[in-house]
């Protein structure tokens, strides 16, 4: 347990479950059906094998997750990853933050934004549009959420249209879900390669 990672990183760690994953050989038909709709069915991650303990919810979650993060139109893929990372920073989900910050870096071809967010959180120095997205995602992730009508004005002034704001709401909220599974049901640990 000594190699649990506590600092944000763009290197995706291993995820060590705190709850026993199901054994694929013992999976029920319902569990197999829920597992089938994951992006890769050749190698099922331990995380998904833990979630298979609630097959009914897993079956709905996976396509919903993909639709919110990858649907056509609306907010750009990179900006959805920025929103996801903002939520993951608030909830200190090191694993989710690593996955989504690294995807942002790949899509935006820019590592400075994530370096600044990991170093300074909500105070990170970003351009007005990036800042508006980050602030909204981080405020929405508080309990209760701290967003107000003024935040809508900030998003509008930064150039976001309604369909983009809707995708921002959905992607930040989705990580209010994902972080509450990933950060609680397991630990991010260093890859021992």
């Amino acid at each position: 347990m000594s190699n649990v990672i506590h600092d944000f990183t763009t290197t995706v760690p291993f995820w060590e479950p705190r709850v026993t994953p199901i054994n694929l050989n013992d999976a029920t038909d319902e569990q197999l059906d829920a597992l089938k709709v994951t992006p890769s069915n050749t190698k099922v991650s331990e995380y998904v094998l833990v979630l298979a303990r609630d097959a009914e919810t897993l079956r709905e979650r996976t396509p919903l997750f993909n639709a919110i993060m990858y649907n056509r139109g609306g907010l750009s893929r990179a900006e959805r990853e920025l929103s996801a990372t903002g939520a993951s920073v608030v909830n200190r989900c090191v694993y989710c933050a690593a996955v989504h910050s690294s995807r942002y870096n790949m899509l935006a071809k820019n590592e400075t934004v994530m370096e600044r967010i990991f170093a300074d959180g909500a105070e990170a120095e970003l351009d007005p549009r990036q800042n508006a997205i980050l602030q909204f995602a981080m405020k929405l992730s508080q309990t209760p959420p701290e967003v107000t009508q003024d935040d809508m004005t900030v998003l509008r002034d930064a150039g976001l249209a309604d369909d983009e704001i809707l995708d921002l709401i959905l992607s930040a909220s989705l990580f209010g879900w994902a972080n509450r599974l990933m950060h609680t049901l397991g630990d991010p640990i260093e890859k021992s390669d």
């Binding site: 347990m1 705190r18 709850v19 026993t20 833990v50 979630l51 303990r53 609630d54 009914e56 919810t57 897993l58 079956r59 709905e60 979650r61 396509p63 919903l64 639709a67 919110i68 649907n71 139109g73 609306g74 608030v90 909830n91 200190r92 989900c93 929405l140 992730s141 309990t143 209760p144 959420p145 967003v147 107000t148 009508q149 935040d151 809508m152 004005t153 509008r156 309604d162 369909d163 704001i165 809707l166 995708d167 921002l168 709401i169 959905l170 930040a172 909220s173 989705l174 209010g176 879900w177 994902a178 972080n179 509450r180 599974l181 950060h183 609680t184 049901l185 630990d187």
Partner: protein, 167 residues
């Protein structure tokens, strides 16, 4: 399913079909329909395991209240009353109730409140605290999905209400 008919959009206030935002919501109607299906899977699953429909609705109502989402809390209250709740299940919906002398219930409520309010502070011992009172690993995942889903839905509702107000 039309976006306007879903629990999420209904709880965000009146976004009628002639509202400027209605067309934007229709563009993501698949997401609102899938959100409704996830709601049903978390709140009223065919196999509820060790968490009854009443307990799920009560915990969801409690979480909506912790997120200051009155309309959503009211929705879960409706689910709760239609699930023939025990008096104890009714109490769970009140954020001031801590489970009293029932150790299983106290552990479920403590975990729900912690993950809702302060996700970042959850540690491995919080999971062991559930297993120590006899909560099965299946039920830990069921509870986790319920908590995670309701916190997602509360945020979509909050965001939509603000966006509708600004359109």
């Amino acid at each position: 399913m039309n976006a306007q008919e879903t629990t999420t959009v209904r709880c965000a206030g009146s976004i009628e079909t002639d509202h400027p935002l209605a067309e934007t919501l229709d563009g993501r109607s698949d997401i609102f329909a899938m959100t409704e299906q996830a709601h049903d899977a978390a709140l009223t699953p065919v196999d509820p395991g060790g968490l009854t429909h009443a307990e799920r609705a009560a915990l969801a109502c409690r979480m909506a209240r912790l997120n200051a989402e009155d309309d959503l809390a009211h929705h879960f209250e409706g689910l709760l009353t239609s699930a023939n709740p025990t008096d104890t299940a009714m109490h769970i919906a009140d954020p001031k109730y801590d489970g009293g002398s029932d150790t299983r219930l106290t552990a479920l409520i403590r975990y729900t409140d912690l993950v809702t309010r302060d996700t970042k502070s959850v540690v491995a011992a919080d999971i062991s605290a559930l297993t120590d009172t006899g909560v099965s690993e299946d039920d830990i995942v069921r509870l986790s999905e319920l908590v995670a889903f309701v916190n997602y839905q509360a945020r979509v509702v909050r965001g939509l209400r603000l966006l509708a107000g600004a359109s």
